[in-house]
Amino acid sequence: MLIPHPLLGLRDAQEFTYLGDARLIDRPDPSAPDAEAAFCDYVFLRDNPAGVHREFWFHEQGDRSWLVVTRDTVTHEVLGAELARDAALSRTRCSK
């Protein structure tokens, strides 16, 4: 596979380490009253769709950036990729 790195262009997926569901970007509030349940959901449960999936890839053999890649799990077609840092920062802005 090739991952369209937002800074470096198409890079072979072999340079990357895969983590999975990009929802892991939304770490629950540890001080919330239902924190334990929210963390269980966060850590263990997955949508696991057959189709479009947003997921984390780490450019371990490259620039060490975490990417959020949007990929179809049926065709493996990659629909886009962004720096996870940007995704996380925009999320922070949205929620505040």
């Binding site: 895969y18 983590l19 263990f44 449960l45 997955r46 949508d47 696991n48 769709p49 999936h53 799990t73």
Partner: protein, 416 residues
């Protein structure tokens, strides 16, 4: 129709005109007591034991493609009970005992072949971990032997003992492990279930569940609505997709696992061998092909095909371990979609929906579990209580903190 050497002989004399279908092709009835979703190994075994052992009737298996088209038809056929944890080992040993009597039970030769498995170790730390595991196997009555380097060398002299990056120090052996003819297992259970009245319905895809006040009433299918009291889902690889139709999210990701077979060769490898320092395991089929595999590709996929890096990684592992296979040729590679669970262990449990049961999360090791999984799932469906060897496979173990994590890798499916 009973199968035997005599029957084959008799049929040969009359031109094979007497053979009957191995199973019927019934149309679905409007309702059943038990619906098993998924006509793979686990689903077919469940239906068989439900009918045969637990004496239930009005059972149907719904299969979206052809019987055995899931992972039972695309695995590397290994059977073993060499697990570490109390939640796993008795279950897999129960499975091994069922394997040992399977062909007589089913009157179908699934070629269960106990030629042994050897897990190699390369460091003292690995040896210690294998000793803990081997002792767990002894506790379950599974049998195990810790082999030293020289003992191993006498047994499998063709490994790379003298020019290895990670020298082989020994192995943990289970003599009762081995392989079985994967398709034969599915067909044997299918034929057995059919002969006990189970309706095996092919080309029948479940498209939804009909739920009513927290209880399942039946399933929508590509061949119409079918009502049922109890619905058991055994669709590993697609568990998330199917259970999503009932509104459930699972502690499962679907990943692709590749497997490989070479051209046919005269006897080369006696049993199953797994490399402890690379990602590689191998056996040889009765037809002569070397059957091998390694790691999962590592990304979510429903594509039933993998990519080159893993192919190369597996081949490198194989060449590092046994360079005498180098001039054999890879004939075919394929991929199966596996349910990778968050702790690497399966789920056999009821769900929060009354009458809806789940059997899934088998990771890359569901084939060896086929008999026990079917038996335990049938037990759960028939009695409402988990089978004694499958009590650890509850779905709430994640939330409660009772994971069954053989590798200690945590909630990251691609590391299990």
């Amino acid at each position: 129709m009973k199968f035997s050497g005599f029957r084959v002989f008799a049929e040969a004399l009359k031109g094979h005109t007497g053979w009957r279908p191995l199973w019927r092709n019934p149309d679905p009835k409007p309702s059943y007591d038990y619906l098993i979703v998924g006509g793979g190994g686990h689903g077919l075994a469940t239906a068989y034991y439900l009918a045969k052992t637990f004496g239930r009737s009005r059972i149907a298996v719904l299969e979206k493609g052809w019987l055995g088209s899931g992972n039972v038809g695309r695995n590397t056929t290994i059977i073993r009970s060499n697990y570490l944890l109390a939640g796993n080992e008795p279950f897999y040993e129960f499975s091994m005992k069922l394997w040992e009597g399977l062909e007589q039970e089913l009157n179908f030769n699934a070629m269960v072949s106990q030629r042994g498995i050897i897990n190699l170790f390369h460091t003292d730390a690995q040896r210690d971990a294998f000793r803990r595991r081997g002792n767990a196997m002894m506790l379950a009555g599974a049998g195990a032997r810790l082999l030293g380097r020289e003992e191993l060398r006498a047994m499998v002299p063709f490994l790379n003992y003298d020019n290895a990056r990670f020298p082989i120090k020994g192995g943990l052996m289970q003599a009762r492990a081995g392989t079985a003819r994967h398709d034969g297992v599915a067909w044997g259970y299918a034929r057995g279930g059919d002969s006990h009245g189970v309706d095996l319905i092919q080309n029948c895809e479940v498209t939804g569940f009909r739920l009513d006040r927290g209880k399942v009433r039946g399933v929508e299918t590509s061949r119409g609505y079918i009502a049922a009291d109890k619905v058991g889902v055994a669709v590993a690889g697609s568990s998330s997709r199917v259970m999503a139709m009932a509104g459930m999210r699972l502690p499962i990701e679907s990943h692709v696992l590749q497997a490989f077979v070479t051209e046919g060769l005269k006897p080369t490898i006696p049993g199953v061998i797994t490399f402890g320092a690379g990602h590689f395991y191998i056996s040889q089929s009765d037809k002569g092909g070397l059957v091998f595999g390694g790691d999962i590709d590592g990304y979510n996929s429903y594509a039933q095909r993998g990519n080159l890096p893993v192919v190369e990684d597996v081949a490198e592992g194989g060449m590092a371990l046994m360079p005498m296979i180098g001039r054999a040729r890879l004939l075919r590679m394929w991929g199966g979609v596996v349910d990778m669970s968050m702790d690497g262990s399966p789920i056999i449990d009821r769900t929060h929906i009354d009458g809806l049961y789940l059997n899934g999360g088998w990771c890359y090791g569901g084939f060896k579990a086929t008999p026990a999984s079917g038996y335990a799932f049938a037990h759960l469906l028939a009695t409402g209580a988990p089978h004694e060897t499958a009590r650890a496979y509850r779905i709430d173990r994640f939330a409660r903190g009772h994971v069954v994590d053989e590798r200690g890798a945590g909630a990251q499916p691609n590391l299990h």
